[in-house]
Symmetry: C2
Subunit: 367 residues, 2 copies
């Protein structure tokens, strides 16, 4: 255990499970950057605590934190949440963290390159060296073997059903600021070999305002094989309107790896959220970090939820749609308990949502 493997998951009989499958636990990173999170990250820390506690009712959770913030994180989190020392450049475990694969008996880590959503070309900060070590460190901690892939990919850039289908966006994964050295064929080859998928569905664009060059996880999410929740708006003046329509139409015309048509549930987005003057003033100004001025639109979404064992943890925004959304999701997933995170706005002000700050570790036998 702990080896770097030179084979691929596909040839070894491993696959990336769907998020809806059984987990051994969930990984998060503690927020502390004062140029990402306002007021020394204290409100965001409370939001991450709320998220972690919500998830911890369903499964084990580990929070990675810098040495500097260890004692603070430990004292803010309840003791049943594991707090371990792990450096990072920010707090987005979904994107810089490991992607796990399993084979019914064993779990392994797939370690993709991470370049802070665009590297020196529109990436959100510099450097990202510690983020890039996170998958390796998680693998070490869990005594797991690891695959390393010479391709940039964030966990928020893909959605899989664990049965051979992967949905992603060309805007993100084929962006020249991710993998300019790779052709479409090569990118597909890496996705197929390292996640063991057969069918890749390319949507042109993802969420319009999410700073990630169109991640899929602000646009749609699997709730079970063949079944998706898709962010929605009927307001034609909303810049997201056209993207949602486009995604809906494309997905309606597709079949997944098992030849199933998709069942698609439209889930209305919250109203656009704009950074206030006070919120913007709470950020440290650092050269090289993506600025968030007053009036900037942060596109919130309810589909950026986290599927835990028997649970759904959903970001809320203080929006009139919060409560109906929870009811809608509960009706769609009666087998799970739906729980809201009230402080979703504080996470969104940092650039992400509940799904962005979590990463599930599937059980060896997750089906």
């Amino acid at each position: 255990m702990g080896k770097l493997l030179t084979t691929t998951p596909q040839e070894d009989g491993f696959r990336m499970p769907g998020e809806f499958e059984k987990h051994d636990g969930c990984w998060m990173l503690w927020p502390e950057r004062p140029d990402t999170f306002r007021l020394g990250a204290k409100p965001a820390q409370q939001a991450f605590v709320e998220t972690a506690v919500a998830i911890s009712h369903f499964e084990r959770i580990t929070m990675g934190v810098s040495a500097r913030q260890f004692s603070n994180a430990r004292s803010q989190l309840p003791s049943h949440i594991r707090v371990i020392e792990m450096s990072s450049n920010d707090a987005w475990m979904r994107d810089c963290g490991p992607i796990f694969v399993n084979n019914g008996q064993e779990v392994r880590v797939v370690d993709w390159e991470f370049n802070a959503w665009g590297g020196l070309d529109e990436g959100l900060y510099f450097p990202w060296d510690q983020d890039n070590l996170v998958p390796r460190k998680v693998a070490e901690l869990e005594w797991l073997d690891r695959y390393q892939v010479p391709m940039v990919l964030e966990g928020g850039g893909i959605a899989v059903d664990g049965e051979g289908t992967l949905i992603t966006t060309t805007q993100c994964v084929l962006n020249p600021n991710r993998n300019p050295h790779l052709s479409l064929t090569e990118v597909e080859c890496y996705l197929q070999r390292y996640l063991a998928v057969e069918k890749i569905i390319w949507l042109p664009r993802g969420s319009v305002d999410d700073e990630t060059d169109g991640h899929i996880d602000g646009l749609c999410a699997y709730i079970r094989p063949g079944e998706l929740v898709l962010g929605w708006t009927d307001d034609k003046s909303d810049p997201q309107y056209e993207i949602n329509q486009e995604a809906y139409e494309m997905l309606c015309g597709e079949r997944d790896a098992r030849k199933r048509p998709f069942t698609i549930h439209k889930l209305p987005n919250p109203r656009p959220i704009y950074v206030t003057a006070e919120e913007s003033a709470g950020l440290d100004m650092v050269e090289g970090t993506h600025p968030r001025p007053e009036g900037l639109c942060m596109g919130g979404s309810y589909v950026n939820f986290y599927l835990a064992n028997g649970g759904v943890v959903v970001p809320l925004y203080g929006d009139p749609a919060d409560r109906p959304t929870l009811a809608t999701l509960q009706a769609l997933m009666p087998e799970r308990k739906v729980v809201g995170v009230q402080s979703g706005r504080e996470i969104l002000l940092g650039g992400g949502m509940v799904h962005c700050i979590t990463q599930q570790q599937p059980s060896p036998n997750s089906r």
Copy 2:
């Protein structure tokens, strides 16, 4: 799991096992202080690698390392050794690390205070805040519950047989620079309650040159219940001579918790080791760190070995006694394979030996 307990191991039916009992693994910390270890700690890192590799033939091993040195440690150690991020102020896992207790089904951590062998009064460096967090971090990593004790104690300051007996030195544990607020009765009460021992044997002094105020682990070690190896010299001019005689006579007159007399094997020490001008010049000079000038005598010992599962890992010093010592230890422990660490001098130049840089994690049921 992960709770801070307010009970004591004694009342919960937990005890500290002997080092000779079965382990789940071994913990170490990566050396990097340039004021403790010469030449930027590079020779010491090689010595720690040699030690870790030697132990890894017998049991799982985890190396804690700072974020700064993570990639270097990871690349210097073979992949079957787990490397995890863990800050510390130096590299002495025996002393700042956790002491584990078990009850046949579960392992828990006992978290003593650590003050760098004397705090502001002759401690070896300042600060020691990260060292002091190590037991808590190990407990978190292993999902173990933890006891916290308001008393300074280093793992190298005690030797136990797992059957109710503890041997220590008044020079160390009753030193005013450790627990000036505690009486002898209170100290004994903490040792009894948190390690579940019944009989405490107080030797007056430990090793003369070890900077720890007389740790027991440079003087003697259990190899099985009732049976000790004791460092020895017949040279009356050696400052250690009188201490060894005194310990031998006291132990010969004692019985352990089970009323057994001790079987004591005298093990001749290596010749005294003196810091050379070149070695001293390789150290960073830092105010507040214990200096190691040319000519300083570092008292090496062979009893500072580590008992692994089926193994004995012994520090060697390039001394004529190295080889006969391995043979002696092999004859004393035919049930184990005895292995030498050739680079013992480099560890000793930093102030310790093999036992000082390791800490065993017993199995839940270790007998």
